[in-house]
Protein backbone atom coordinates (compact mmCIF):
# COMPACT_ATOMS: atom_id res chain seq x y z
CA UNK A 1 0.00 0.00 0.00
CA UNK A 2 2.73 2.41 0.98
CA UNK A 3 4.93 1.57 -1.98
CA UNK A 4 2.16 2.28 -4.49
CA UNK A 5 1.55 5.64 -2.91
CA UNK A 6 5.17 6.68 -3.12
CA UNK A 7 5.55 5.61 -6.74
CA UNK A 8 2.45 7.55 -7.73
CA UNK A 9 3.59 10.62 -5.85
CA UNK A 10 7.09 10.23 -7.28
CA UNK A 11 5.78 10.37 -10.83
CA UNK A 12 3.35 13.16 -10.01
CA UNK A 13 6.12 15.25 -8.54
CA UNK A 14 8.63 14.55 -11.27
CA UNK A 15 6.14 15.66 -13.90
CA UNK A 16 6.18 19.14 -12.46
CA UNK A 17 9.67 19.49 -13.88
CA UNK A 18 9.47 20.43 -17.57
CA UNK A 19 12.81 18.83 -18.22
CA UNK A 20 11.55 15.50 -17.05
CA UNK A 21 8.40 15.78 -19.16
CA UNK A 22 10.26 16.56 -22.39
CA UNK A 23 12.89 13.89 -21.72
CA UNK A 24 10.19 11.38 -20.89
CA UNK A 25 8.41 12.03 -24.18
CA UNK A 26 11.63 11.64 -26.15
CA UNK A 27 12.45 8.37 -24.39
CA UNK A 28 8.94 7.13 -25.08
CA UNK A 29 9.43 7.85 -28.76
CA UNK A 30 12.69 5.93 -28.72
CA UNK A 31 11.09 2.99 -26.98
CA UNK A 32 8.42 3.04 -29.67
CA UNK A 33 11.15 2.87 -32.29
CA UNK A 34 12.76 -0.08 -30.51
CA UNK A 35 9.45 -1.94 -30.52
CA UNK A 36 8.91 -1.12 -34.17
CA UNK A 37 12.29 -2.63 -35.01
CA UNK A 38 10.78 -6.06 -34.40
CA UNK A 39 8.25 -5.38 -37.13
CA UNK A 40 10.69 -4.12 -39.72
CA UNK A 41 9.86 -5.29 -43.21
CA UNK A 42 13.52 -5.17 -44.17
CA UNK A 43 16.60 -6.97 -42.91
CA UNK A 44 18.81 -4.12 -41.73
CA UNK A 45 22.03 -5.63 -43.00
CA UNK A 46 20.77 -6.19 -46.53
CA UNK A 47 21.29 -3.54 -49.09
CA UNK A 48 19.37 -2.42 -52.20
CA UNK A 49 16.01 -3.32 -50.82
CA UNK A 50 14.39 -0.07 -51.89
CA UNK A 51 15.19 2.59 -54.48
CA UNK A 52 18.25 4.56 -53.38
CA UNK A 53 18.62 8.22 -52.72
CA UNK A 54 14.99 9.20 -52.25
CA UNK A 55 14.24 12.18 -50.01
CA UNK A 56 11.75 11.86 -47.10
CA UNK A 57 8.22 11.18 -48.26
CA UNK A 58 5.07 9.59 -47.00
CA UNK A 59 6.19 6.15 -48.09
CA UNK A 60 9.74 6.56 -46.78
CA UNK A 61 9.42 8.90 -43.74
CA UNK A 62 13.13 9.51 -43.42
CA UNK A 63 14.04 8.86 -46.99
CA UNK A 64 16.36 6.18 -48.32
CA UNK A 65 20.13 6.10 -48.46
CA UNK A 66 22.47 5.45 -51.31
CA UNK A 67 22.74 1.77 -50.34
CA UNK A 68 19.07 1.23 -50.97
CA UNK A 69 18.00 1.03 -47.38
CA UNK A 70 15.03 2.70 -45.75
CA UNK A 71 16.55 5.17 -43.26
CA UNK A 72 13.57 5.01 -40.92
CA UNK A 73 13.72 1.28 -40.43
CA UNK A 74 17.51 1.44 -40.15
CA UNK A 75 17.00 3.92 -37.35
CA UNK A 76 14.76 1.57 -35.38
CA UNK A 77 17.52 -1.00 -35.31
CA UNK A 78 20.17 1.61 -34.62
CA UNK A 79 18.34 2.89 -31.58
CA UNK A 80 17.74 -0.62 -30.30
CA UNK A 81 21.35 -1.68 -30.70
CA UNK A 82 22.84 1.46 -29.25
CA UNK A 83 20.55 1.21 -26.26
CA UNK A 84 21.52 -2.42 -25.76
CA UNK A 85 25.19 -1.49 -25.61
CA UNK A 86 24.44 1.40 -23.28
CA UNK A 87 22.33 -0.73 -20.95
CA UNK A 88 24.87 -3.53 -20.76
CA UNK A 89 27.66 -1.07 -19.99
CA UNK A 90 25.70 0.81 -17.38
CA UNK A 91 24.37 -2.33 -15.73
CA UNK A 92 27.70 -4.04 -15.28
CA UNK A 93 29.64 -0.96 -14.36
CA UNK A 94 27.03 -0.11 -11.65
CA UNK A 95 27.27 -3.57 -10.17
CA UNK A 96 31.03 -3.38 -10.02
CA UNK A 97 30.96 0.18 -8.69
CA UNK A 98 28.47 -0.62 -5.93
CA UNK A 99 30.19 -3.77 -4.75
CA UNK A 100 33.64 -2.26 -4.79
CA UNK A 101 32.59 1.11 -3.43
CA UNK A 102 30.76 -0.39 -0.47
CA UNK A 103 33.52 -2.88 0.27
CA UNK A 104 36.18 -0.20 0.21
CA UNK A 105 34.14 2.22 2.28
CA UNK A 106 32.86 -0.18 4.92
CA UNK A 107 35.90 -2.34 5.44
CA UNK A 108 38.47 0.38 5.23
CA UNK A 109 42.10 -0.34 6.00
CA UNK A 110 44.17 -2.35 3.54
CA UNK A 111 41.18 -3.63 1.57
CA UNK A 112 40.23 -0.04 0.93
CA UNK A 113 43.69 1.00 -0.15
CA UNK A 114 44.13 -1.93 -2.53
CA UNK A 115 40.75 -1.44 -4.14
CA UNK A 116 41.11 2.30 -4.49
CA UNK A 117 44.51 1.90 -6.11
CA UNK A 118 43.11 -0.53 -8.66
CA UNK A 119 40.25 1.83 -9.37
CA UNK A 120 42.46 4.85 -9.72
CA UNK A 121 44.65 2.94 -12.15
CA UNK A 122 41.76 2.18 -14.46
CA UNK A 123 40.83 5.85 -14.36
CA UNK A 124 44.19 7.11 -15.51
CA UNK A 125 44.66 4.54 -18.24
CA UNK A 126 44.32 6.06 -21.70
CA UNK A 127 41.20 4.05 -22.33
CA UNK A 128 40.48 5.33 -25.80
CA UNK A 129 43.81 4.05 -27.05
CA UNK A 130 43.33 0.74 -25.29
CA UNK A 131 39.80 0.45 -26.65
CA UNK A 132 41.10 1.11 -30.13
CA UNK A 133 43.88 -1.45 -29.66
CA UNK A 134 41.52 -4.13 -28.38
CA UNK A 135 39.00 -3.40 -31.12
CA UNK A 136 41.68 -3.84 -33.72
CA UNK A 137 43.19 -7.00 -32.28
CA UNK A 138 40.00 -8.72 -31.19
CA UNK A 139 37.81 -7.52 -34.01
CA UNK A 140 35.35 -10.37 -33.91
CA UNK A 141 35.05 -10.35 -30.16
CA UNK A 142 34.11 -6.69 -29.97
CA UNK A 143 31.48 -7.14 -32.66
CA UNK A 144 29.24 -8.67 -30.07
CA UNK A 145 27.26 -5.96 -28.24
CA UNK A 146 27.51 -7.75 -24.98
CA UNK A 147 31.30 -7.96 -25.10
CA UNK A 148 31.61 -4.32 -26.10
CA UNK A 149 29.35 -3.41 -23.19
CA UNK A 150 31.52 -5.34 -20.74
CA UNK A 151 34.67 -3.73 -22.11
CA UNK A 152 33.21 -0.28 -21.72
CA UNK A 153 32.00 -1.18 -18.22
CA UNK A 154 35.55 -2.08 -17.24
CA UNK A 155 36.64 1.48 -17.89
CA UNK A 156 33.78 3.31 -16.25
CA UNK A 157 33.20 1.83 -12.79
CA UNK A 158 36.05 3.53 -10.98
CA UNK A 159 34.74 7.07 -10.68
CA UNK A 160 31.38 6.16 -9.25
CA UNK A 161 32.94 3.55 -7.00
CA UNK A 162 34.83 6.42 -5.42
CA UNK A 163 31.69 8.44 -4.97
CA UNK A 164 29.92 5.51 -3.36
CA UNK A 165 32.92 4.79 -1.18
CA UNK A 166 32.99 8.30 0.24
CA UNK A 167 29.31 8.16 1.00
CA UNK A 168 29.73 4.85 2.78
CA UNK A 169 32.67 6.24 4.75
CA UNK A 170 30.49 8.92 6.25
CA UNK A 171 27.47 6.64 6.70
CA UNK A 172 29.58 4.15 8.62
CA UNK A 173 30.11 6.64 11.44
CA UNK A 174 26.46 7.43 11.93
CA UNK A 175 24.78 6.18 15.04
CA UNK A 176 22.10 4.12 13.36
CA UNK A 177 24.80 1.94 11.83
CA UNK A 178 26.26 1.35 15.29
CA UNK A 179 22.76 0.52 16.53
CA UNK A 180 22.42 -1.94 13.66
CA UNK A 181 25.64 -3.64 14.73
CA UNK A 182 24.36 -3.82 18.31
CA UNK A 183 21.13 -5.33 17.00
CA UNK A 184 23.09 -8.31 15.83
CA UNK A 185 22.78 -7.62 12.11
CA UNK A 186 25.42 -9.41 10.04
CA UNK A 187 27.60 -7.13 7.92
CA UNK A 188 25.99 -8.09 4.62
CA UNK A 189 22.52 -7.28 5.89
CA UNK A 190 23.72 -3.98 7.29
CA UNK A 191 25.07 -3.10 3.87
CA UNK A 192 21.89 -4.14 2.10
CA UNK A 193 19.33 -2.68 4.46
CA UNK A 194 20.98 0.27 6.11
CA UNK A 195 23.53 1.56 3.64
CA UNK A 196 22.19 0.65 0.21
CA UNK A 197 19.04 2.81 0.36
CA UNK A 198 21.22 5.85 0.97
CA UNK A 199 23.52 4.90 -1.87
CA UNK A 200 20.93 3.94 -4.50
CA UNK A 201 19.99 7.46 -5.65
CA UNK A 202 23.55 8.02 -6.77
CA UNK A 203 23.51 4.67 -8.49
CA UNK A 204 20.40 5.58 -10.50
CA UNK A 205 21.65 8.91 -11.72
CA UNK A 206 25.10 7.65 -12.57
CA UNK A 207 23.47 4.74 -14.40
CA UNK A 208 21.91 7.15 -16.81
CA UNK A 209 25.08 9.20 -17.16
CA UNK A 210 26.97 6.02 -17.85
CA UNK A 211 24.52 5.14 -20.60
CA UNK A 212 25.19 8.49 -22.28
CA UNK A 213 28.90 7.93 -22.02
CA UNK A 214 28.63 4.44 -23.49
CA UNK A 215 26.67 5.69 -26.48
CA UNK A 216 29.25 8.40 -26.98
CA UNK A 217 32.02 5.80 -26.90
CA UNK A 218 30.20 3.55 -29.31
CA UNK A 219 29.77 6.44 -31.73
CA UNK A 220 33.45 7.32 -31.39
CA UNK A 221 34.59 3.77 -32.06
CA UNK A 222 32.22 3.37 -35.00
CA UNK A 223 33.41 6.65 -36.44
CA UNK A 224 36.94 5.28 -36.36
CA UNK A 225 35.68 2.19 -38.13
CA UNK A 226 36.24 0.01 -35.09
CA UNK A 227 34.09 -1.90 -32.69
CA UNK A 228 30.87 -2.92 -34.33
CA UNK A 229 30.68 -4.36 -37.83
CA UNK A 230 29.67 -1.34 -39.94
CA UNK A 231 26.83 -3.20 -41.59
CA UNK A 232 25.09 -3.65 -38.26
CA UNK A 233 23.10 -0.46 -37.64
CA UNK A 234 23.82 1.50 -34.51
CA UNK A 235 23.71 5.24 -34.16
CA UNK A 236 27.47 5.23 -34.55
CA UNK A 237 27.63 3.02 -37.61
CA UNK A 238 24.79 4.92 -39.30
CA UNK A 239 26.77 8.08 -38.83
CA UNK A 240 29.97 6.49 -39.97
CA UNK A 241 28.44 4.96 -43.10
CA UNK A 242 26.77 8.23 -44.04
CA UNK A 243 30.03 10.13 -43.74
CA UNK A 244 32.10 7.46 -45.43
CA UNK A 245 29.66 7.26 -48.32
CA UNK A 246 29.73 11.03 -48.66
CA UNK A 247 26.08 11.60 -48.02
CA UNK A 248 26.44 15.35 -47.76
CA UNK A 249 28.39 15.59 -50.93
CA UNK A 250 25.64 13.74 -52.70
CA UNK A 251 22.98 15.95 -51.22
CA UNK A 252 21.39 13.13 -49.21
CA UNK A 253 21.16 15.33 -46.07
CA UNK A 254 18.50 13.14 -44.43
CA UNK A 255 20.90 10.21 -44.32
CA UNK A 256 23.46 12.20 -42.33
CA UNK A 257 21.06 14.24 -40.26
CA UNK A 258 19.10 11.30 -38.89
CA UNK A 259 21.85 9.78 -36.72
CA UNK A 260 23.07 13.24 -35.67
CA UNK A 261 19.67 14.46 -34.51
CA UNK A 262 18.95 11.12 -32.89
CA UNK A 263 22.22 11.23 -30.95
CA UNK A 264 21.56 14.79 -29.78
CA UNK A 265 18.01 14.02 -28.71
CA UNK A 266 19.14 10.92 -26.86
CA UNK A 267 21.92 12.74 -24.99
CA UNK A 268 19.65 15.61 -24.02
CA UNK A 269 16.87 13.30 -22.89
CA UNK A 270 19.18 11.16 -20.80
CA UNK A 271 20.82 14.21 -19.27
CA UNK A 272 17.53 15.84 -18.35
CA UNK A 273 16.19 12.70 -16.76
CA UNK A 274 19.35 12.25 -14.75
CA UNK A 275 19.37 15.87 -13.60
CA UNK A 276 15.71 16.04 -12.63
CA UNK A 277 15.92 12.66 -10.87
CA UNK A 278 19.01 13.58 -8.91
CA UNK A 279 17.53 16.89 -7.81
CA UNK A 280 14.42 15.09 -6.70
CA UNK A 281 16.36 12.41 -4.86
CA UNK A 282 18.63 14.85 -3.03
CA UNK A 283 18.59 13.45 0.52
CA UNK A 284 17.62 16.73 2.14
CA UNK A 285 14.55 17.13 0.01
CA UNK A 286 13.72 13.47 0.52
CA UNK A 287 13.72 13.56 4.28
CA UNK A 288 11.50 16.59 4.35
CA UNK A 289 9.02 14.77 2.19
CA UNK A 290 8.68 11.69 4.39
CA UNK A 291 5.61 12.04 6.49
CA UNK A 292 4.06 14.59 4.19
CA UNK A 293 0.84 14.19 2.26
CA UNK A 294 -0.55 11.34 4.28
Amino acid sequence: MKKVNTVKSLIYDLFKDYRFVVAFIIICIFILLVILSFFSPYNPQRMYQVPSGLPPSFKYPLGTNWLGQDVFWQLTFAVKNSLIIALVTAFFSRIIAVIIGILAGYKGGTTDRVITTIGDTTMVLPFLIILIAISMILKDWTNNFFNLGILLAFFSWAWDARVIRSQVLSLREREFVKVAVLSGMPTIRIIRKQLLPHVLPIVFTTFINNMSWAIGMEITLAYLGLGIDPTVPTIGTMLQTAIYRQALFMGLWWWLLTPIVTAILLFVALYWISVSLSEYLDPRARFQRIGFGK
Binding site: S9, Y12, D13, Q288, R289, F292, G293
Partner: protein, 325 residues
Protein backbone atom coordinates in the same frame (compact mmCIF):
# COMPACT_ATOMS: atom_id res chain seq x y z
CA UNK B 1 16.83 53.49 30.03
CA UNK B 2 16.14 53.96 26.37
CA UNK B 3 15.16 51.30 23.93
CA UNK B 4 17.63 50.00 21.36
CA UNK B 5 15.44 47.45 19.56
CA UNK B 6 11.74 46.80 19.50
CA UNK B 7 9.19 44.70 17.66
CA UNK B 8 5.46 45.22 17.20
CA UNK B 9 3.16 42.24 16.65
CA UNK B 10 5.89 40.36 14.81
CA UNK B 11 4.68 37.36 12.88
CA UNK B 12 7.05 35.16 10.88
CA UNK B 13 5.96 31.80 9.54
CA UNK B 14 7.62 29.04 7.53
CA UNK B 15 5.46 28.27 4.52
CA UNK B 16 6.22 24.87 2.99
CA UNK B 17 4.64 23.45 -0.13
CA UNK B 18 4.99 19.84 -1.12
CA UNK B 19 2.78 17.89 -3.48
CA UNK B 20 0.35 20.74 -3.71
CA UNK B 21 -0.19 20.68 0.04
CA UNK B 22 0.64 23.75 2.06
CA UNK B 23 1.97 23.63 5.60
CA UNK B 24 2.38 26.73 7.69
CA UNK B 25 4.69 26.60 10.70
CA UNK B 26 3.79 29.47 13.02
CA UNK B 27 7.22 29.89 14.52
CA UNK B 28 6.95 33.54 15.66
CA UNK B 29 3.36 34.37 16.41
CA UNK B 30 2.63 37.93 17.48
CA UNK B 31 5.73 38.83 19.47
CA UNK B 32 6.19 42.24 21.09
CA UNK B 33 9.63 42.98 22.46
CA UNK B 34 11.13 46.14 23.86
CA UNK B 35 14.85 45.70 24.44
CA UNK B 36 16.69 48.40 26.33
CA UNK B 37 20.26 49.61 26.13
CA UNK B 38 22.81 48.24 28.55
CA UNK B 39 20.89 45.13 29.50
CA UNK B 40 21.25 41.38 29.04
CA UNK B 41 17.90 40.02 27.89
CA UNK B 42 17.26 36.29 27.97
CA UNK B 43 14.72 34.29 26.00
CA UNK B 44 14.06 30.87 27.46
CA UNK B 45 12.20 28.01 25.89
CA UNK B 46 12.69 24.54 24.56
CA UNK B 47 13.44 23.29 21.10
CA UNK B 48 10.63 23.96 18.69
CA UNK B 49 9.22 26.98 20.51
CA UNK B 50 10.35 29.41 17.87
CA UNK B 51 13.19 31.19 19.64
CA UNK B 52 15.81 30.59 16.97
CA UNK B 53 13.38 31.85 14.36
CA UNK B 54 12.76 34.90 16.51
CA UNK B 55 16.47 35.68 16.43
CA UNK B 56 16.51 35.32 12.66
CA UNK B 57 13.63 37.75 12.46
CA UNK B 58 15.39 40.21 14.76
CA UNK B 59 18.32 40.09 12.37
CA UNK B 60 15.93 40.73 9.48
CA UNK B 61 17.22 37.48 8.03
CA UNK B 62 14.01 36.25 6.48
CA UNK B 63 14.85 33.91 3.64
CA UNK B 64 12.24 31.61 2.12
CA UNK B 65 10.59 29.42 3.29
CA UNK B 66 10.59 31.82 6.25
CA UNK B 67 8.32 34.75 5.48
CA UNK B 68 7.34 37.92 7.29
CA UNK B 69 3.59 37.81 7.70
CA UNK B 70 2.93 40.86 9.83
CA UNK B 71 4.48 43.31 12.25
CA UNK B 72 7.37 45.72 12.45
CA UNK B 73 10.94 45.72 13.68
CA UNK B 74 12.81 48.83 14.79
CA UNK B 75 16.47 49.48 15.46
CA UNK B 76 17.58 52.67 17.20
CA UNK B 77 20.71 53.84 15.46
CA UNK B 78 22.06 57.36 15.93
CA UNK B 79 19.12 58.39 18.06
CA UNK B 80 16.33 57.49 15.60
CA UNK B 81 14.13 54.47 15.16
CA UNK B 82 14.43 52.83 11.75
CA UNK B 83 11.82 50.48 10.37
CA UNK B 84 14.16 47.63 9.44
CA UNK B 85 11.87 45.81 7.02
CA UNK B 86 11.61 48.90 4.87
CA UNK B 87 15.38 49.05 4.31
CA UNK B 88 17.13 47.75 1.23
CA UNK B 89 19.21 44.60 1.44
CA UNK B 90 22.38 46.65 1.17
CA UNK B 91 21.40 48.90 4.05
CA UNK B 92 20.59 45.91 6.22
CA UNK B 93 23.93 44.35 5.30
CA UNK B 94 25.74 47.47 6.47
CA UNK B 95 24.07 47.26 9.83
CA UNK B 96 25.20 43.68 10.35
CA UNK B 97 28.32 43.31 12.46
CA UNK B 98 28.42 47.06 13.11
CA UNK B 99 25.09 47.71 14.84
CA UNK B 100 23.85 44.19 15.42
CA UNK B 101 25.72 40.91 15.28
CA UNK B 102 24.87 37.25 15.69
CA UNK B 103 26.51 34.32 17.44
CA UNK B 104 25.04 31.12 16.00
CA UNK B 105 24.54 27.83 17.72
CA UNK B 106 27.52 26.03 16.21
CA UNK B 107 30.83 27.84 16.12
CA UNK B 108 31.78 26.04 12.95
CA UNK B 109 28.96 27.83 11.15
CA UNK B 110 30.86 31.08 11.31
CA UNK B 111 34.49 30.05 11.04
CA UNK B 112 35.71 28.87 7.68
CA UNK B 113 37.44 25.57 8.40
CA UNK B 114 40.08 26.04 5.72
CA UNK B 115 41.08 29.52 6.79
CA UNK B 116 43.10 30.58 9.76
CA UNK B 117 41.23 32.53 12.39
CA UNK B 118 42.97 35.74 11.45
CA UNK B 119 41.65 35.49 7.89
CA UNK B 120 38.07 35.22 9.10
CA UNK B 121 38.63 38.32 11.19
CA UNK B 122 40.21 40.10 8.24
CA UNK B 123 37.19 39.41 6.05
CA UNK B 124 34.86 41.16 8.43
CA UNK B 125 37.12 44.09 9.06
CA UNK B 126 37.80 44.70 5.39
CA UNK B 127 34.15 44.83 4.47
CA UNK B 128 33.29 47.42 7.10
CA UNK B 129 36.37 49.54 7.78
CA UNK B 130 38.71 51.13 5.32
CA UNK B 131 42.24 51.02 6.73
CA UNK B 132 45.46 52.00 5.09
CA UNK B 133 47.24 48.68 5.25
CA UNK B 134 47.02 45.17 6.63
CA UNK B 135 49.08 46.06 9.66
CA UNK B 136 46.32 48.36 10.90
CA UNK B 137 43.83 45.53 10.67
CA UNK B 138 46.08 43.21 12.62
CA UNK B 139 46.62 45.81 15.30
CA UNK B 140 42.87 46.18 15.64
CA UNK B 141 42.49 42.41 15.96
CA UNK B 142 45.17 42.00 18.57
CA UNK B 143 43.87 44.84 20.65
CA UNK B 144 40.37 43.50 20.57
CA UNK B 145 41.55 40.07 21.71
CA UNK B 146 43.57 41.67 24.47
CA UNK B 147 40.50 43.56 25.65
CA UNK B 148 38.65 40.29 25.89
CA UNK B 149 41.45 38.48 27.68
CA UNK B 150 42.20 36.07 24.84
CA UNK B 151 45.73 35.30 23.72
CA UNK B 152 46.62 36.70 20.28
CA UNK B 153 48.24 33.37 19.32
CA UNK B 154 44.85 31.96 18.43
CA UNK B 155 44.84 34.17 15.34
CA UNK B 156 47.35 31.83 13.76
CA UNK B 157 45.36 28.67 14.40
CA UNK B 158 42.87 26.81 12.23
CA UNK B 159 39.42 26.37 13.78
CA UNK B 160 39.70 22.61 14.21
CA UNK B 161 42.86 22.97 16.26
CA UNK B 162 41.04 24.91 18.94
CA UNK B 163 38.91 23.33 21.64
CA UNK B 164 35.14 23.75 21.43
CA UNK B 165 35.06 26.34 24.17
CA UNK B 166 37.88 28.31 22.64
CA UNK B 167 36.20 28.31 19.23
CA UNK B 168 33.03 29.69 20.68
CA UNK B 169 34.97 32.50 22.33
CA UNK B 170 36.66 33.26 19.03
CA UNK B 171 33.24 33.53 17.43
CA UNK B 172 32.18 35.91 20.18
CA UNK B 173 35.32 37.97 19.59
CA UNK B 174 34.44 38.07 15.91
CA UNK B 175 30.90 39.19 16.65
CA UNK B 176 32.10 42.03 18.85
CA UNK B 177 34.93 43.18 16.61
CA UNK B 178 33.13 46.30 15.47
CA UNK B 179 31.62 47.03 18.89
CA UNK B 180 28.00 46.47 17.91
CA UNK B 181 25.18 47.84 20.03
CA UNK B 182 23.22 44.62 20.02
CA UNK B 183 24.58 41.08 20.15
CA UNK B 184 22.26 38.13 19.50
CA UNK B 185 23.44 34.80 20.89
CA UNK B 186 21.63 31.61 19.87
CA UNK B 187 22.34 28.81 22.36
CA UNK B 188 26.01 29.80 22.57
CA UNK B 189 26.88 27.04 25.02
CA UNK B 190 24.82 24.08 23.96
CA UNK B 191 27.53 21.81 22.65
CA UNK B 192 29.98 22.74 25.38
CA UNK B 193 30.77 21.09 28.67
CA UNK B 194 30.28 22.83 31.97
CA UNK B 195 33.70 24.38 32.27
CA UNK B 196 33.88 25.73 28.72
CA UNK B 197 30.33 26.99 29.17
CA UNK B 198 31.37 28.96 32.21
CA UNK B 199 34.25 30.54 30.29
CA UNK B 200 31.90 31.59 27.49
CA UNK B 201 29.35 33.11 29.87
CA UNK B 202 32.15 34.85 31.70
CA UNK B 203 33.31 36.39 28.44
CA UNK B 204 29.84 37.62 27.52
CA UNK B 205 29.48 39.22 30.92
CA UNK B 206 32.84 40.96 30.63
CA UNK B 207 31.95 42.28 27.19
CA UNK B 208 28.69 43.72 28.40
CA UNK B 209 30.31 45.34 31.40
CA UNK B 210 33.04 46.89 29.28
CA UNK B 211 31.09 48.10 26.30
CA UNK B 212 27.74 48.67 28.00
CA UNK B 213 25.90 47.22 24.99
CA UNK B 214 22.88 44.91 24.83
CA UNK B 215 23.00 41.14 24.64
CA UNK B 216 19.98 39.05 23.73
CA UNK B 217 20.66 35.43 24.61
CA UNK B 218 18.46 32.52 23.67
CA UNK B 219 18.90 29.27 25.60
CA UNK B 220 16.82 26.57 27.22
CA UNK B 221 19.17 26.40 30.21
CA UNK B 222 17.59 28.29 33.11
CA UNK B 223 20.84 28.16 35.02
CA UNK B 224 22.53 30.31 32.39
CA UNK B 225 19.71 32.81 32.50
CA UNK B 226 20.07 33.04 36.24
CA UNK B 227 23.81 33.64 35.99
CA UNK B 228 23.84 36.08 33.13
CA UNK B 229 20.64 37.92 32.33
CA UNK B 230 19.07 41.01 33.89
CA UNK B 231 15.65 40.61 32.31
CA UNK B 232 14.13 37.61 30.59
CA UNK B 233 11.09 36.14 28.90
CA UNK B 234 9.75 32.64 28.38
CA UNK B 235 8.64 31.50 24.95
CA UNK B 236 6.19 28.71 24.17
CA UNK B 237 4.69 27.72 20.82
CA UNK B 238 5.81 30.90 19.11
CA UNK B 239 4.52 33.30 21.77
CA UNK B 240 5.95 35.07 24.79
CA UNK B 241 4.09 33.80 27.83
CA UNK B 242 5.94 35.58 30.63
CA UNK B 243 8.39 38.46 30.91
CA UNK B 244 10.04 40.06 33.94
CA UNK B 245 13.41 41.03 35.46
CA UNK B 246 15.40 37.84 36.08
CA UNK B 247 15.25 38.06 39.88
CA UNK B 248 11.48 38.38 39.71
CA UNK B 249 11.07 35.41 37.36
CA UNK B 250 12.98 33.14 39.70
CA UNK B 251 11.44 34.42 42.90
CA UNK B 252 7.85 34.81 41.66
CA UNK B 253 7.16 32.71 38.60
CA UNK B 254 3.48 32.94 37.70
CA UNK B 255 2.95 30.88 34.56
CA UNK B 256 2.83 27.12 35.29
CA UNK B 257 5.32 26.44 32.50
CA UNK B 258 7.81 28.88 33.99
CA UNK B 259 7.37 27.33 37.41
CA UNK B 260 8.02 23.95 35.90
CA UNK B 261 11.16 25.05 34.03
CA UNK B 262 12.69 26.39 37.22
CA UNK B 263 11.88 23.44 39.46
CA UNK B 264 12.34 20.61 37.04
CA UNK B 265 16.07 20.17 36.95
CA UNK B 266 17.78 18.30 39.73
CA UNK B 267 20.33 19.90 42.01
CA UNK B 268 23.25 18.23 43.63
CA UNK B 269 22.36 17.33 47.17
CA UNK B 270 18.69 16.70 46.49
CA UNK B 271 17.52 13.26 45.63
CA UNK B 272 13.75 13.63 45.80
CA UNK B 273 11.80 12.40 42.86
CA UNK B 274 11.21 15.02 40.19
CA UNK B 275 8.74 14.63 37.40
CA UNK B 276 8.69 15.71 33.79
CA UNK B 277 5.65 17.37 32.25
CA UNK B 278 3.38 14.95 30.47
CA UNK B 279 2.89 15.24 26.75
CA UNK B 280 5.31 16.73 24.26
CA UNK B 281 6.00 20.22 22.94
CA UNK B 282 3.12 21.35 20.71
CA UNK B 283 3.13 21.29 16.95
CA UNK B 284 3.62 24.75 15.49
CA UNK B 285 1.54 23.75 12.49
CA UNK B 286 -1.54 22.79 14.43
CA UNK B 287 -1.15 24.49 17.81
CA UNK B 288 -3.75 23.63 20.44
CA UNK B 289 -6.73 26.03 20.60
CA UNK B 290 -6.84 28.70 23.26
CA UNK B 291 -3.71 28.67 25.39
CA UNK B 292 -1.11 26.50 23.65
CA UNK B 293 0.06 25.05 26.97
CA UNK B 294 -3.33 23.91 28.26
CA UNK B 295 -3.08 20.21 27.24
CA UNK B 296 -0.04 19.80 29.49
CA UNK B 297 -0.88 22.30 32.20
CA UNK B 298 -1.51 20.99 35.71
CA UNK B 299 -3.57 24.10 36.51
CA UNK B 300 -5.68 24.16 33.34
CA UNK B 301 -9.22 25.53 33.53
CA UNK B 302 -12.06 25.27 30.99
CA UNK B 303 -11.47 28.77 29.60
CA UNK B 304 -7.85 27.89 28.79
CA UNK B 305 -9.00 25.67 25.92
CA UNK B 306 -11.28 28.30 24.43
CA UNK B 307 -9.63 31.66 24.70
CA UNK B 308 -6.02 32.69 24.23
CA UNK B 309 -4.76 34.63 27.25
CA UNK B 310 -3.16 37.99 26.43
CA UNK B 311 0.20 39.15 27.77
CA UNK B 312 -0.75 41.58 30.57
CA UNK B 313 1.29 43.41 33.14
CA UNK B 314 0.35 42.04 36.56
CA UNK B 315 2.98 43.85 38.59
CA UNK B 316 5.62 46.46 37.69
CA UNK B 317 7.61 45.10 34.75
CA UNK B 318 6.15 41.63 35.19
CA UNK B 319 3.94 40.48 32.30
CA UNK B 320 2.29 37.08 31.95
CA UNK B 321 -0.15 35.44 29.53
CA UNK B 322 -2.30 33.27 31.77
CA UNK B 323 -5.82 33.36 33.16
CA UNK B 324 -5.62 34.19 36.87
CA UNK B 325 -6.87 31.72 39.47
Amino acid sequence: MSEVLKTENLKAFYILEYWGEKRVIKAVNNVNLSIKQNEIYGIAGESGCGKSTLLKALLANLDPPLQLIDGKLFYKTNGDFIDVFSLTKKEIKNLRWSFISYIPQGSMHVLNPVKKVKDSFLEILESHIKAKDIKEYFDLMREHLKDLGLSPEILEAYPHQLSGGMRQRVVIALATLLHPQVILADEPTTALDVVAQRAVIQLLKDIQETFKNTIIIVTHDMGIHAQLTTRMSIMYAGKIIEEAPTQEIFKNPIHPYTKYLIQSLPKIGEKEQREGISGSPPSLIYPPPGCAFHPRCPEAKPECAEEEPKLIEVSPQHKVACFPN
